[in-house]
């Protein structure tokens, strides 16, 4: 009997925590379908009119476009730089390797406000105008880490003898990379890229400090909420951001068997 009660208590507790975590998010999703522009409960009616309105809004469109462009570019850069860094740290032994490894991960551990401030001063000091490129640089700093972590973890789990076996069988460096290394790390690279994009797409703090007068989607939300304007559209945009970030994170979790994702998300 006690076993049953304990189980019941644990289950109830878990459900309560899940509700605590997800009720606000679900509310936003529900309000996105509100037919009125006043948030009241129960909803006066359901409608999808705000979706059309949001989609047609040039300001929101511009923010979305900026978010996508900055996110994709930052992800692309992070993909190349993060993978290369992971290979270097895994394959070579050099003086100060552990320090270098730590430095790579640091941007993710540092508070965003620090990274943002530092970049902001740097750009200012060097007379660089804030633009999409400053956003890309800001986002790349932490996107690299996610790719780096994922690829490095996979490389460490891969048997070193596989590379030797390929060479032993007559494969040159390129063939070994194409036939053995790349297929073995491919899912980790893709997972890293997806996580990187998800992080970039909803980043606010660093972006605020390096975006200047431009609005990414999260910055637009932030501004609209602060002014208390256009809340129906905010709900729609937030729903969209939730979707765009959750899908890659879920795919990445599938690709890496779950573990990598939880850790990198928690560190942020």
């Amino acid at each position: 009997m006690e076993g049953f009660l304990t189980k019941l208590a644990l289950r109830t507790w878990a459900v309560l925590i899940l509700l605590f975590l997800f009720i606000p998010i679900i509310l936003i999703l529900v309000y996105a379908f509100n037919s009125s522009n006043i948030e009241s409960w129960p909803l006066p009616g359901l409608s999808t009119k705000w979706f059309a309105a949001t989609w047609d809004d040039p300001e929101i469109r511009a923010a979305l476009e900026l978010s996508l462009r900055a996110g994709l570019t930052a992800t692309g850069l992070a993909l190349v730089l993060g993978s290369c860094a992971a290979f270097a740290v895994q394959r070579m032994t050099f003086f100060g390797r552990d320090v270098v490894s730590l430095l790579f991960v640091l941007p993710l551990a540092l508070p965003g406000i620090v990274t943002g401030m530092a970049l902001n001063s740097f750009f200012h000091f060097n007379g660089i105008t804030l633009s999409i490129w400053t956003i890309v640089v800001g986002h790349t700093t932490f996107c690299i880490v996610v790719v780096y972590n994922n690829v490095l973890a996979r490389l460490r789990r891969t048997q070193g003898s596989l590379i030797e076996a390929a060479m032993d069988l007559g494969a040159n460096g390129f063939q070994t990379f194409r036939d053995i290394t790349l297929p073995l790390i491919a899912t980790a690279v893709v997972a890293g890229a997806m996580l990187a994009f998800a992080l970039s797409f909803d980043e606010v703090i660093v972006t605020t400090l390096v975006a200047g007068a431009q609005n990414t989607l999260p910055l637009w939300i932030f501004g609209a909420v602060r002014l208390g304007q256009r809340l129906p559209e905010v709900n729609v945009v937030v729903s969209f951001v939730i979707l765009v970030t959750i899908v890659p994170v879920a795919i990445a979790a599938r690709l890496t068997g779950g573990s990598g994702v939880v850790r990198t998300q928690a560190e942020r």
């Binding site: 048997q159 003898s161 596989l162 030797e164 076996a165 390929a166 060479m167 032993d168 069988l169 007559g170 494969a171 040159n172 063939q175 036939d179 053995i180 297929p183 073995l184």
Partner: protein, 344 residues
């Protein structure tokens, strides 16, 4: 005359201050099953990696079939390796694994398929070419690793403790299987192991290594019966080392006769009295650890031919150990033995 399959000449390799291979000269003939035997840290695996090309020697020369390959990278050497952890490519099927060496060498698909098929047949895994390595048992993976190496018909096949991960029964089965395959394909095998029994049962010739140096090279019976050094005597089998009249010699336990009261030694045998200190039952036979009155400790072995339980009752008994002088082997004096044998 065909050049030897493998020739090492003064090969040395050190890691920092550690000398892993301390000047090795070795010749392995074509078609030989040659074993490198030694305890862990004796340099046998390093030696194998030097032959494969994963490491390059600090000094010395490595020849494969008469060609100097000392500075040839591994992918251009006519060697193939069966790795201790098998190193099967997890994303490829069994067939793709075995065919990989042929594929990167640009061998046409039809011929590739035929050779893979033959290799699978040889290791008795026909019909499994579509499986992935993680769907195989340990013994099957071992066979795939072997097939993947043999299919390329290398000058020398290198095997790095390939049976280490298998259980005893499977290991003994695979020992016979490896020997059978080696005879059939006629490829030169260089086999690394720390298991002296494996070395004795499988090799045509073997080298015993210690601290990066070769202690002795020879056929198994010679190495066992006539160990060149005390290390070899101690590492292979149980050995009793005695010193009498300034001469150090080895007596194998099975050559010692344990006499009880009333039993007489045969003419010409050396006899020394002692006490049984410990009895170790090992199933087929029993080991008696005897302290001689002169202070030395010897191990004698007897088949368990008596009724069960008899062997253990010997503990503490007074016995005499007898041996034929010709069955001993004098250490550090290779020639002394033939003298002793002549007087036998």
């Amino acid at each position: 005359m065909r050049p030897p399959a493998l020739r090492l000449d003064g090969v040395r390799k050190s890691y920092g201050h550690v000398l892993a291979v301390a000047g090795v000269d070795l010749t392995v003939e074509v078609g030989e099953f040659f074993t490198l035997l030694g305890p862990s840290g004796s340099g046998k695996t390093t030696l194998l990696r030097l032959i494969a090309g994963f490491e390059s020697p600090d000094a010395g020369r490595i020849e494969l079939a008469g060609h100097d390959v000392t500075s040839t990278p591994p992918h251009l050497r006519q060697t193939n390796t069966v790795f201790q952890d098998y190193a099967l490519f997890p994303h490829m099927t069994v067939g793709e694994n075995i065919g990989y060496g042929l594929r990167v060498k640009g061998i046409a698909k039809a011929e590739r398929r035929e050779r893979v098929e033959r290799a699978l047949n040889m290791v008795r895994l026909s019909g499994l070419e579509r499986r992935k390595p993680n769907q195989l048992s340990g013994g099957q993976r071992q066979r795939v690793a072997l097939a993947r190496a043999v299919v390329n018909e290398p000058e020398v096949l290198l095997l790095d403790e390939p049976l280490g991960a298998l259980d005893l029964k499977l290991r003994q089965e695979m020992q016979l299987e490896l020997k059978r395959i080696q005879k059939k394909v006629g490829i030169t095998f260089v086999y690394v192991t720390h298991d002296q029994e494996e070395a004795l049962t499988m090799s045509d010739r073997m080298a015993v290594l210690s601290n990066g140096k070769i202690e002795q090279v020879g056929p198994p019976d010679e190495v066992y019966e006539r160990p060149a050094t005390e290390f070899v005597a101690g590492f292979i089998g149980i050995s009793n080392v005695l010193e009498r009249d300034g001469v150090r010699f080895v007596i194998r336990p099975e050559k010692l006769r344990m006499l009880e009261e009333g039993q007489e030694a045969q003419r010409g045998m050396n006899v020394e009295p002692g006490t049984v200190e410990q009895v170790v039952y090992v199933g087929m036979s029993t080991r008696y650890i005897v302290r001689l009155d002169r202070g030395d400790q010897l191990v004698a072995v007897r088949q368990n031919m008596d009724a069960p339980g008899q062997a253990l009752r010997y503990e503490g008994r007074r016995v005499r150990l007898a041996w034929v002088p010709g069955h001993t082997y004098v250490l550090d004096h290779q020639r002394a033995r033939s003298d002793a044998a002549a007087g036998d």
